[in-house]
Amino acid sequence: MLKMSKLAKAYYTDTVKTQALQPFDLEVKQGEFVAVIGPSGSGKTTFLNIAGLLEDYCEGQYTLDGKDVTGLSDKQKSRLRNEKIGFIFQGFNLIPELNLFDNVEMPLRYRSFSASERKQRVMDALQQVGLASRKDHYPQQLSGGQQQRVAIARALAGSPAFLLADEPTGNLDSKMADGIMSLLKDINAKGTSILMVTHDTEQASQAQRIIEIRDGVLSERHAPEQAIA
């Protein structure tokens, strides 16, 4: 579903080349829950941005759901992001001026869904995260955990090939974090692949696989399959 071959990323200034990610290979299969861990500055965010088509890579090949994304135009990448990837951000990134319904509906507006289909998808997604009854509320009327649930609903509404979660519990207390992790595992159990970047090793241990990034080098740590059983 997601395959990266000899992928590398470097940043250049006039005189200095900074290798953010050393060439690496990675494959995430349909239905897998993969955690990416590493200390600050290790290249986690760069990896996440590349996986989410938010940033270009310098060399290698990236195939997403069978489609080689190398050399795609900005418009094609936008479309692919919209259709294949569901993003969950650490800061939720909800739009404060829009109510929950409109927030969840927002990415669907960039696709050719009819209004009734959009409505159906939004309500299904909100139902899935347990917030359908609060569709007319605004983000600031919710707790952090509820806001992240809305963000998850937004990610799910477009039926993506996989979820890309960037520190999804980073801004939450432990109780809310547990709730979110539990929700993510439920979603994964229904067949949606998840690639989660986190600095929390305990949460990472709940994934099927753990990829560690250290100084731009990716390595598979272990496969704690028993952890999600």
């Binding site: 965010t45 996440l48 941005n49 989410g52 088509l53 938010l54 940033e55 900005d74 418009k75 936008s78 479309r79 992001r81 919209n82 259709e83 993003f87 951000f89 650490q90 800061g91 990134n93 739009i95 404060p96 001026e97 829009l98 109510n99 409109d102 927002m106 990415p107 507006r109 960039y110 696709r111 605004y138 937004r154 477009g158 960037d166």
Partner: protein, 402 residues
């Protein structure tokens, strides 16, 4: 218009900045519509035909070297003969005043001799048998005065009994059939005059006057110690004619010439204040449009800077650059349109005041539409750069913590 609902929701939830912009646009619109209308009205005055063949005409004031009535008349006739004989001069006449000049006469007129009948004032000109031809007026009915019918008048003392009137004058009294005025008697200053001819157009001295198009031309050779001559040059020989006439008249000892002016100059002098007002209004418009442009630009740019993270999120969630551009342009179009709607109401209210206090005609709807179009375009132009800036926001911004 798939962005409409989220844009409206966003604007509704954060009203203050859009409201200020709406207010600015509305004020701009109000002033702009009325300023444009004032300019158009004033410009219409500037180009309104006087009825004269202005390109080949010039006028002058000169003195008569006598104070005896008979001698004055003889000297003026001699002046006219001398000027008419010049090769560059096609015709010449003596008049009491000229359309658009700085001085003129008017008279109460009516179809009867009583005070109640004298219900309107009209522009009043005198001229000899050459006046119609010299001015280049178009005689559209009846005939002009013959040489024999022209009386010599010292200080309006002669008793003329005939008149040539403008079509405007004829329509005033015979709106259904203006030709019907021919041969009828009209009263000027309580004196009867038989209408002998109708000219297509002859304007009064005062543009903007309610009776500007209603004039009469009386067959009088009006002579005073300082009389006025209107000279028609041959086509393309205006400057030459001016020089020849001045040279010829100055042959007379004691001659004084004043205000030797072609009609371009007379017109420019007449409309000096209007021209200045138009220029001022133009600058007001330019300033206002610029201010609005800057206001919209500043607001749009501020909004983009404030929403960088949000734009990055939208991009990450699948919005293409075109989607972002369309969102920004649509948002601006909505704010501008609301401003225009408020502006239309304010402009109409302001116009009602102008109509009531300054006797202006109500502003036509077409001006509202045109100014609305201009402001909409200005708004879209102003938002181009900030919108383009928004499209450059990287989707990777969505994953950054600041």
């Amino acid at each position: 218009m798939k962005d409409l609902k989220p844009i409206l929701s966003t604007l509704w939830r954060s009203k203050s900045a859009p409201l200020l912009l709406i207010l600015q646009i509305a004020v701009t619109f109000t002033i702009l519509v009325n300023a444009v209308y004032l300019i158009i009205q004033k410009e219409a005055l500037l180009i309104e035909p006087s009825g004269l063949d202005e390109e080949v005409i010039f006028t002058l004031h000169t003195n008569v070297q006598s104070s005896e009535a008979e001698e004055m008349i003889a000297l003026v006739k001699q002046d006219l003969r001398d000027v008419r004989a010049l090769p560059s001069v096609e015709n010449v006449t003596v008049m009491n005043s000229f359309p658009l000049s700085d001085w003129g006469s008017y008279a109460p007129t009516g179809l009867g001799p009583t005070e109640e009948d004298m219900n309107i004032y009209t522009g009043y000109f005198t001229g000899d048998e050459h006046a119609i031809a010299a001015m280049g007026l178009e005689l559209i009915a009846g005939e002009g005065p013959s040489e024999a019918e022209v009386q010599d008048s010292i200080d309006f003392s002669a008793d003329a009994t005939q008149a040539v009137v403008s079509k405007g004058f004829a329509e005033l009294y015979y709106p259904d059939d203006w030709r019907a005025i021919l041969g009828t008697t009209v009263y000027l200053n309580y004196e009867p005059f038989i209408v002998k001819g109708i000219v297509k157009d002859l304007k009064s001295v005062w543009p903007g006057w309610y009776s500007h198009a209603n004039t009469v031309l009386i067959p009088l050779r009006h002579i005073s110690s300082n009389y006025k001559m209107l000279i028609r040059s041959r086509p393309g020989e205006l400057e030459q004619a001016k020089q020849q006439v001045v040279r010829e008249l100055m042959k007379t000892p004691g001659r004084q010439l004043d205000k030797v002016m072609d009609y371009q100059q007379i017109r420019a002098d007449k409309f000096k204040s209007e021209t200045a007002a138009i220029k001022t209004l133009y600058w007001v418009i330019v300033g206002l449009v610029l201010l609005t442009l800057l206001g919209i630009f500043g607001q749009a740019r501020f909004t983009v800077v404030k929403r960088r993270k949000q734009i990055g999120t939208r991009r990450a969630l699948g919005a293409s650059r075109t989607d972002i551009l369309r969102y920004c342009m649509t948002e601006n179009a909505i704010v501008t349109s609301v401003g225009i709607v408020v502006g239309v109401i304010c402009a109409l209210l302001a116009n009602v005041q102008l109509v009531n206090h300054f006797d202006m005609a109500p502003v036509p709807v077409v001006y509202l539409l045109q100014v609305a179009g201009v402001i909409l375009i200005v708004g879209q132009l102003a938002v181009c750069q900030p919108a383009w800036m928004a499209t450059r926001v990287s989707p990777a911004l969505a994953t950054r913590s600041v």
